[in-house]
Amino acid sequence: MEPCFTPDQAYAEAGRCLLCFDAPCSKGCPAGTDPGTFIRKLRLRNIKGAIATVKNNNILGGICGILCPVSGLCEKECAATPIDRPIQIGRVQRFLIEHGRKLKFNPLEKKEPNNINIAIIGCGPSGLSCAAELAKEGFSVDIFEKKPKPGGVMRYLIPDHRLSKEFLNEELKDISSLGVNIRYKSPVESGEELEKLLKEGYRAVYIATGTWGMKSLGLASVYKGFYNAKEFLEKCKSTEKPDMKKIISGKRVCVIGGGDTAIDAAESALILDAKDVSIVYRRSFAQMPGDENGKIEALKSGINFLILTQPVKYLTNGGRITGIEAVRNKLGTSDTSGRPRPVPISGSSHIISTDIIIEAIGFGPEDDSKMLFEKFKLSEKGLILVDEKTGTTSKKSFYAGGDITRGPSLIPEAVADGKRAAKAILEDMELS
């Protein structure tokens, strides 16, 4: 991880802030972290007030400061850009959280217990944000989590070089300090189990299970050397066997896809001493959906970008990957996403030799989620449909948010959804 700002650097950065009226950066933050206010507080030497603002608005403020793709969010709106360059909001935000830890300053306050039980399914950023918000309001919150540890994607998929386990654990301590109860290895696996929660005394259920199903090109069965990105990233982060370093070191790796996950997978392979890492993407560099800075960093780190390249077949020898048969594409007319369609160039078939293939072409709801959410109104893609203002689902007392409602999106959005549902639950409880 990049080093954190020192206090002087943070003050200097806040000193550049224009302290805008109706701060546009605050509007650019999906999570409602309110950078306009916390930067002003820092500028006016009210550093504890600044820390409290971040913490109270965004329980994962430190992580967001590190992982938010700020150049498309808060910093994109910064009014200082035309006369200078945007304030480094994410870094200031992270500084405040780390500084708060140094000061041992915890501004989170809990109201008197109201003895209302709420269940949350999924301990990713969205579930955690909802839990923290509700716990602050005095609710008694149980999170049901399939995995043995908290954090969702942050724990199991985002590579350590971008978010260290230590940082994640520190950030989650604040949530435990609010008294949120997490039940690990406790998947909720069917519609009946969901229903049962209400009978067991939970007055509302927030569903935030994320999108852990991987799409696939359908070119592979079980080959040695073939991974989907989720599986690969999860193994890279795991301390259990097999040791991915042994598997990847010295190998040629091809990552298929053009999003942030593809870049994470490629960088992880590079860190594991792969001999050669390529990202294979079917359109051009400009159309790669990944974060702009992330793409540039990946290029600089020596990852090859095989753009306008479409795999058509994986080549194997004795069940082991040896290469990709691919064609060259050219850009055609725009498709529904507004991006030019990749059109294969005839006669361009060629072979890319490789030892490892990692597919990173998109996440979606897990296959078994259809069963789990059979009683809910779902989108075509199998995502839970919710009311935009409240996060309520088609079923009474059930709320949902995060990736399982949006499709793969961002941590600050997952946080926002958790807050939104908590607010709706609070309002609904007070009405009933």
Partner: protein, 415 residues
């Protein structure tokens, strides 16, 4: 705003919800403005100085100039504004309105008469409209009307006279607002006390010239080709304000409560004024720069500070630094030290070398190959200028270390 500790304080037997006030100036010009300031959290106001309508006040245009240093906007502000240009009746009605709608907040009416009769009438009318306290403006450094403002503040007889004039006609507490443009601020303050003042406000603006136009040779603000020696305010004058407040607070004959003013923007500035003996603070330029919203951070910051230090009330902070502020002859000169260099973090800029050569004890050599200073402790004066310019901080690369029985360092005769 975060939940705050109790920040209330009694001042001249009037209870203030918190010690942060608007000072008398354009930031406290109308009830509408002040009402908004109260909503943001200000605990009271010194209302823009009232005067009689018989002398028409016309503000020069432009009436202010900002002083920018490097990339820091408005480290100072120079103004040539007069007292209020609004009709007296309107202002009195506004004060009445404020007291009606904001009964827990304190309204101090600042007044300035141009004759004894005017002081009497203004005082009675302001008190009659419900003002909790009067503040006598003896300190405006650029009144265009003869025999007013700072001219009174510099003539001790007039201070005593006008204060007692007002004292004789009202029962509410009276503050005298002091000018720093004087050799010893305690003298006029003692005169005000003799006249019957219950408290003091210090300081009004410092008479100054901040900038001269290089093309037109006119000082700023440039009022149609003419500038004037006039009032300077903002962060640049905080050191002067702190000095004045400390002098007033340390004057045992005086023993009056003080509202501190001058360059306050943050809770840190506020706390410093409190530590030096002010019980309240007043703010103008901070608001000119940032708006009323700064009060939220002042109150929060104060509250956090009190929590950290275990203060139960604002009054416990007041004057805490005073025992540590003494004449220079009380220094223990046997205790000497040196600069200590943590060179592992040095970035090799060489500024310490330059200043030590040209303004310090020439105790640093420069290693050209390594781009590092070579510091000789024996020759170090311990003046610490190197630490002021070193860009590496958190913690500072160059820090002060006391050295027991340090040999005194006197530069030898040049060879």
């Amino acid at each position: 705003m975060a939940k705050l500790l109790d920040l209330s304080i009694d001042f001249c037997d009037v209870k203030f919800p918190n010690p942060v006030l608007l000072s008398s100036s354009p930031v406290s010009n109308t009830a509408e403005m002040i009402g908004r300031a109260f909503e943001y959290g200000f605990g009271g106001v010194a209302y823009k100085t009232l005067g009689f309508d018989n002398i028409k006040i016309i503000h020069p245009s432009p009436r202010m100039a900002g002083y920018t240093y490097g990339s820091n906007n408005l480290i100072g502000l120079q103004n040539v504004e007069q007292i209020t240009d609004r009709p007296l009746q309107d202002n009195l009605m506004d004060i009445e309105y404020l007291k009606k709608h904001w009964s827990n907040h304190v309204v101090i009416a600042s007044i300035m008469g141009f004759s004894e009769e005017e002081w009497i009438e203004l005082a009675k009318m302001a008190a009659g409209s419900g003002a909790d306290i009067l503040e006598l403006n003896f300190s405006c450094p650029h009144m265009t009307v003869e025999g007013s403002g700072m001219k009174v503040g510099q003539s001790f007889g007039l201070i005593e006279k006008f204060t007692s004039t007002v004292r004789n006609v009202v029962d509410i507490p009276i503050l005298a607002k002091m000018t720093p443009n004087i050799t010893d601020i305690t003298e006029p303050a003692l005169s005000a006390k003799k006249g019957g003042a219950d408290g003091l406000t210090a300081i009004n603006t410092v008479r100054a010239l901040t900038e001269i136009g290089l093309d037109d040779n006119v000082p700023k603000p440039n009022v149609a080709g003419i500038g004037a020696m006039s009032g300077y305010s903002g962060p640049a004058i905080k050191p002067i304000g702190l000095r004045c407040v400390t002098e007033l607070a340390q004057c045992t004959d005086l023993n009056l409560p003080i509202a501190g003013c001058g360059g306050i923007e943050t809770w840190v500035d506020t706390t410093e004024y409190l530590l030096c003996g002010a019980s309240l603070v007043q703010i103008t330029t901070g608001v000119v720069h940032y708006g009323y919203r700064i009060v939220e951070d002042i109150l929060e910051g104060l509250s956090y500070y009190m929590e950290e230090k275990g203060f139960k009330s604002i009054s416990e902070i007041v004057g805490k630094a005073l025992p540590n502020i003494q004449p220079t002859d009380r220094f223990d000169l046997s205790r000497q030290g040196v600069g200590e260099y943590d060179l592992d973090r040095c970035v090799g800029c060489g500024q310490c070398y330059i200043v030590c050569q040209d303004a310090g004890g020439q105790c640093i050599d420069w290693d050209y190959d390594k781009r590092r200073p070579v510091h000789d402790e024996e020759k170090c004066l311990g003046c610490m200028i190197c630490s002021f310019i070193c860009p590496v901080s958190d913690p500072p690369l160059i820090s002060y270390r006391e050295v027991k029985n340090k040999k005194s360092v006197i530069p030898p005769v040049s060879e």
